[in-house]
């Protein structure tokens, strides 16, 4: 919200400098966004006259203007504003002027073949408001070539503050002055809101509120006042300047008064031209199909949840949001019907969101407007109308009731110290609160505090602590160490938290880069990777490729491979450790560690190199990555099941599943299916793996951290080689398992050292050669013992594999 220093001084008697005020605003919670000396920032802009505006020969939306900026010669300016027209008075920037709203300096130019020496400006370009619908329109009698800041009277200091949603009371300059006064920066000046005597009964009866019991009803109390015989027209210079300084466009005295009261006291008003109201106006909800031609020249469709003020012809005004064009006040208005009403903030907010209208009225009313101001606000408006436009006020037409919170809080003074650590003298606490409008009774340790009507956000003790704290200043709270619970911190990470950390470092140490990709992916990709259920779809996705919660990390990683490929980088090694969503339930969220290698990005390097040729990534690269992560997490891949059950995304003959018993899948690995490579628009080969970190078994709790005793044998180990001819389908895993099981005490290790196929082995057969290491523990093995264990190994393997020993 913007306001000027002199406007603030209307409400606050203070000697404080603008800097001091700016700092204090932030201190008390009214964050200063900017403080600007408009006279300086905008001193180069001048008033100007568009002597002629003609269609640009080469551009539909541009006009070529001849501008008189008081220099004695006409300046050529190309302007894109829809309202640039012959005869208009506006604001002009000479070449070399810095345009704050565009953060650029305008130069001499040529726009589509037409010379342009300067710029006609909108309010947004001058950062006076958000209004960039067109260039500024000034009255016809505006002198030409005058400094715009002098003409508009905006040569003072302008504050812009941001107001939190709970502080409806600070949406008017008066409320801001009240906070500053409570802080001690001056004295609040009161406003005369006493009743203005009426000249007779109101020609418009109090507005009936026509709502059935279960309808949403936005209106609470509606106050209207008929003021007869006003003389409307441009408002006085001081009022116009004040509005311009904060970015509002003066319209006419009546409308300007409504804006003055809205910004000055945070009390929005609406002024109807009473002669344009047909029949008795009423309050009701809009009917389906009704629309409002609003004051912003746009047409809004209305629905049954929105309260309107309507006459015989339909909606005149969307309650609490914006008035309609049909009954708006103009220079010709003679009889005014001034509205000051209180509304349900939540319903105003809802209507505001539905229609998308952002108005000064909505901004205030959805934040709460002091319900005690409904009738006084109407009196203030009436008084201002009479001062500026004359006229005879009729009796107020009031219907409905205001809603007062009337909160009373029992406030133990010790709460301030309990919650903030700050010691504040009781006298200071009561002084602060009373300056903020709180009424206190009781003595001693606990006060009974009555909350003023403009602070419905204050409902309990903690709220009062905040009031005291923000007036004392948080910087004055002494800093105090938080006592330690343990002098040496205990283990802080849970198993899964440690797993994520370890998996991440293990994969990075294998040369993969960690990516963080979106939790949501396209529906197509989610479905392809086994997700896409309705309950995992966003109802309001931000983009079509971010609609579904990911069932796997691979789509994100593969998309990254594709993007990097498009940038010319085809050997990628990427991983992510992150959440996937198997259902929308909390337990459906798992952490996966997944990785992809593409092109030749293998462990020992990628691309062409003098030391060896660049080999394409394959299934064993993925398996090795997966095994490394499992190992880092304490699981030996040789001790879990490696099953030839590839996931859907894998080459059917080059992928597998890692399992722990029939129910627990730890992960998958494989080469990406060639059809998927095509479908996902990838080029090279890709090897990938996924590990479900949540599926890993919780490590067993042990009584001590002692490792099992190390039993070292003094005897030499010996090894024996065996080669078996087996069917091609027999897995090495089965052979190893059988061999290892042949004599668990003696066999220390079994390794596959050769695998080959060929005509001499037989059609559909392969030869698998294993090396078995035997470790005698007590005495050297005799030939008989070695023969015995060899026979057991051959027996076990041939039985398990159906193969024969090669001789």
């Amino acid at each position: 919200m913007k306001f000027t220093l002199d406007w603030l001084q209307d409400h606050l008697d203070t000697d404080a400098s603008a800097d001091e005020i700016g700092k204090t605003l932030t201190l008390v919670g009214l964050e200063l966004e900017s403080m600007e000396d408009q006279g300086k920032a905008l001193s180069a802009f001048v008033t100007a006259h568009i002597v002629s505006a003609e269609q640009h020969p080469n551009a539909d939306k541009l006009r070529v203007c001849k501008v008189d900026a008081g220099t004695g010669e006409l300046i050529d300016v190309v302007c894109g504003a829809p309202n640039a027209r012959t005869g208009l008075k506006s604001v002009f920037a000479f070449p070399g002027t810095y345009i704050p709203g565009k953060d650029m300096t305008i130069g001499k130019g040529n726009i589509r073949g037409q010379v342009s020496n300067g710029m006609l400006c909108s309010n947004a370009e001058l950062e006076l408001s958000e209004d960039h619908d067109g260039i500024i329109e000034l009255p016809e009698d505006t002198p030409v070539g005058m400094k715009y800041v002098d003409y508009a009277g905006i040569n003072g200091v302008v504050f812009d503050i941001s107001i939190t949603p709970n502080r409806g009371d600070a949406t008017g300059v008066y409320g801001i002055a009240r906070d500053l006064a409570a802080f001690g920066l001056g004295t609040l000046k009161s406003t005369d809101m006493s009743p203005v005597p009426s000249k007779g009964p109101s020609p418009i009866a109090p507005l009936p509120q026509l709502f059935s019991g279960d309808e949403p009803k936005t209106i609470r109390k509606f106050g209207g006042r008929y003021i007869k015989g006003v003389k409307n027209g441009p408002s006085p210079a001081w009022l116009q300047q004040r509005l311009r300084a904060v970015g509002l466009r003066p319209i006419n005295a009546i409308v300007d008064i409504t804006n003055l009261v809205s910004l000055g006291w945070g009390r929005p008003l609406h002024a109807y031209d009473a002669d344009k109201i047909v029949g008795q106006p009423v309050l009701r909800n809009a009917r389906a199909g009704e629309t409002l031609d609003a004051l912003d020249n746009k047409v809004y469709p209305l629905d049954e949840t929105m309260t309107v003020i309507a006459d015989d012809q339909g909606p005149l005004c969307l309650g609490g949001i914006m008035g309609g064009l049909r009954s708006g006040s103009t220079d010709e208005t003679v009889n005014v019907f001034m509205e000051c009403a209180s509304w349900d903030p939540e319903l105003v907010a809802r209507t505001g969101r539905k229609t998308g209208i952002v108005s000064d009225a909505r901004y205030r009313l959805e934040r709460n407007v002091d319900p005690a101001l409904t009738e006084p606000g109407l009196e203030l408006a009436t008084r201002l109308v009479m001062e500026l436009c004359g006229g005879e006020p009729m009796e107020p037409a009031i219907s409905g009731e205001d809603v007062f919170a009337n909160s009373v809080v029992e406030f133990p003074l010790a709460e301030v110290r309990r919650l903030t650590g700050l010691s504040v003298e009781p006298m200071i606490v009561t002084a602060i609160l009373s300056r903020l409008g709180f009424e206190m009774s009781g003595k001693g340790e606990t006060l009974t505090v009555k909350v003023p009507s403009w602070r419905p956000d204050v409902t309990q003790k903690a709220d009062l602590v905040e009031e005291v704290m923000r007036m004392v200043g948080v910087d004055n709270i002494p800093v105090e160490p938080l006592p330690r619970l343990n002098h040496v911190a205990q283990r802080m990470l849970t198993t899964i938290q440690n797993r994520r950390r370890i998996a991440r470092r293990a994969l990075a140490a294998r040369g993969l880069d960690e990516a963080v990709t979106w939790s949501f992916i396209s529906h197509e990709e989610a479905s392809r990777f086994g997700g896409g259920q309705e309950t995992l779809q966003l109802a309001n996705a931000i983009a079509s490729d971010m609609t579904d919660m990911r069932p796997s990390l691979l789509p994100g990683l593969l998309a990254a491979v594709r993007r990097n490929g498009n940038r010319g980088s085809n050997d990628l090694a990427l991983f992510e450790v992150g959440q996937v969503f198997l259902s929308d339930a909390p337990e459906g969220q798992h952490t996966y560690a997944s990785g992809v290698r593409s092109g030749t990005a293998r462990l020992d390097g990628s691309g062409r190199h003098w030391s060896g040729k660049a080999e394409a990534v394959g299934v064993f690269d993925a398996k090795a990555d997966l095994a490394a992560v499992l190992d880092a997490l304490g699981i030996d891949i040789e001790k879990v099941q490696v099953l030839a059950e590839p996931p859907a995304w894998s080459h059917p003959g080059r992928g597998g599943r890692i399992a722990l018993g029939p129910k627990v899948t730890l992960g998958w690995f494989g080469e990406l299916h060639p059809a998927w490579i095509d479908a996902l628009d990838l080029t090279g080969p890709v090897a990938a793996f996924e590990i479900d970190l949540d599926a890993l078994p919780e490590p067993r709790k042990k009584a001590t951290k002692t490792k099992p005793a190390l039993d070292l044998s003094p005897l030499m180990p010996l090894s024996r080689d065996f080669a078996f001819v087996v069917d091609k389908a027999v897995t090495a895993g089965a052979i190893l398992r059988a061999a290892r099981g042949a004599d668990k005490a003696l066999i220390r290790d079994v390794n596959v050292f050769d695998v080959f196929e060929g005509a001499h082995v037989g059609e559909g057969k392969k030869s698998v050669a294993i090396e078995v290491t035997l470790q005698p523990m007590e005495k050297t093995l005799t030939d008989e013992e070695i023969d015995k264990v060899s026979a057991a190994i051959v027996g076990a393997v041939t039985k398990a594999s159906g193969g024969v020993l090669r001789t």
Partner: protein, 408 residues
């Protein structure tokens, strides 16, 4: 050569070493030279042959020709048997002397030839050691700045006695809003730009959490049920000290906002903690995180539905150069929001706000990572551009610890 200096007699003219294969054995039957002469000739011939041997194989041929079974020296030795005892008395030592002399020469020559052979091999084995390596896996792999920052945060707060709490990304309206004192229809709810899930069969509309604060309530709330999954932090009894990092989502996208981002929330609940201690925790954290001796914070009263009093915190910094310097300068940078946990929230958790109290704070992980490490654009965090990851990522063994320093 040692053996040559032992020569007793000058020999008769230079001996031309005959080709080894044609080396004649002296014959006793056709004895025409004295034994001394024979020995002397043999010594001269063999010495020359040894000296001429170019390699170990050549030397070995000389050895066989001299000392082998049928060698010339061996033949001379064999002739002792047919000598008269008198003759043998003087011939024996002379012939044996020749034998050991030749053996010594061969051994010495062998040592020299071996050394030469090794030198030659080593010379042949020379490689160009300037040839480049393939970079090591640890030189290639990088940890994402978000993970690194979370590890840094974890290192600091675990030292301060905080554990890490977690909850699900797909949340209920209750945990994300209602329990945290966001009234239905309140503008603050709207400011969150919430992503909603399509309603389930029961008609309930879940949402993507807009902040990590729902974890506060999951940790604080009373009750006996176990969490639905092991990653979800179980309920705790006060005193509670947790930090809650995680992914959060808002329907918003521009240069400084992405629809997904990371937040870290902190929560302290006990019977005495207050804003003075909150200030201490935040100052200590920010000092440790930015690795600077001092930070100056500015606390501004503000509004959050789930804290009262609420504050926003700015950190003093210098933004005059290309880098943001925390702990010096004249600029203020908004860095986090905080406050005392709202009595309604404590009440919603089933605790008595007149007995229990505490504070909470929240900040953007991506944002503080950008401030510390200087990435200019948030959107690049999620783009997985290899060049970006290699540049802004961290080495796998750069483990942030307090004892070793958070960053190298």
């Amino acid at each position: 050569m040692v053996s040559l200096s032992n020569q007793e007699v000058g020999h008769t003219g230079p001996a031309t070493p005959s080709p080894l294969g044609k080396c004649r054995m002296p014959s006793l039957e056709s004895f025409s030279m004295s034994l001394e002469q024979q020995i002397s000739t043999l010594r001269a011939e063999l010495s020359a042959a040894i000296a001429a041997a170019a390699d170990e194989a050549g030397l070995d041929a000389v050895r066989v020709a001299a000392l082998g079974k049928k060698g010339s020296v061996s033949a001379l030795l064999a002739s002792l048997g047919s000598m008269a005892p008198e003759e043998r008395k003087s011939a024996g030592p002379a012939i044996n002397g020749l034998k050991s002399e030749i053996a010594g020469l061969i051994e010495a020559a062998s040592t020299v030839l071996k050394a030469k052979a090794l030198d030659a091999r080593l010379a042949a084995e020379t490689v160009d050691i300037t040839l480049p390596l393939q970079p090591a896996p640890t030189a290639r792999g990088r940890v994402h700045p978000i993970s690194q920052t979370i590890d840094e945060i974890t290192a600091i707060f675990s030292d301060m006695g905080f554990s890490i709490a977690e909850g699900p990304d797909i949340e209920t309206d209750y945990f994300n809003f209602t329990a945290l004192n966001f009234p239905e229809g309140h503008p603050a709810r709207e400011m969150h730009d919430t992503f909603f899930m399509k309603p389930g069969p029961d008609g309930v509309k879940k949402l993507l959490r807009t902040h990590t604060s729902p974890v506060q309530m999951r940790v604080m709330q009373r009750g006996n049920e176990k969490p639905a999954a092991s990653y979800i932090t179980p309920r705790m009894d006060p005193p509670i000290r947790v930090v809650m990092p995680g992914r959060t989502y808002r329907n918003d996208s521009d240069q400084t906002h992405t629809p997904m981002f990371h937040q870290v929330e902190g929560l302290v609940i006990d019977k005495s903690s207050h804003i003075g201690q909150l200030r201490w925790v935040l100052e200590e954290f920010l000092k440790a995180y930015f690795e600077v001796p001092n930070v100056t914070l500015r606390f501004r009263p503000s509004f959050f539905p789930f804290t009262e009093p609420s504050m926003e915190v700015d950190v003093q910094c210098d933004r005059s150069g290309s880098e943001v310097k925390i702990g010096e300068g004249n600029d203020w940078l908004e860095i986090l929001g905080c406050g005392m946990v709202h009595p309604n929230v404590i009440r919603n958790a089933g605790l008595d706000p007149d007995v229990y109290q505490g504070f909470a704070w929240g900040m953007g992980i991506d944002r503080i990572a950008m401030l510390k490490y200087g990435m200019p654009d948030l959107r690049a965090f999620f783009d997985a551009d290899q060049r970006w990851l290699d540049h802004y990522g961290f080495r796998p063994l750069d483990l942030p610890t307090l004892f070793g320093g958070l960053s190298s």
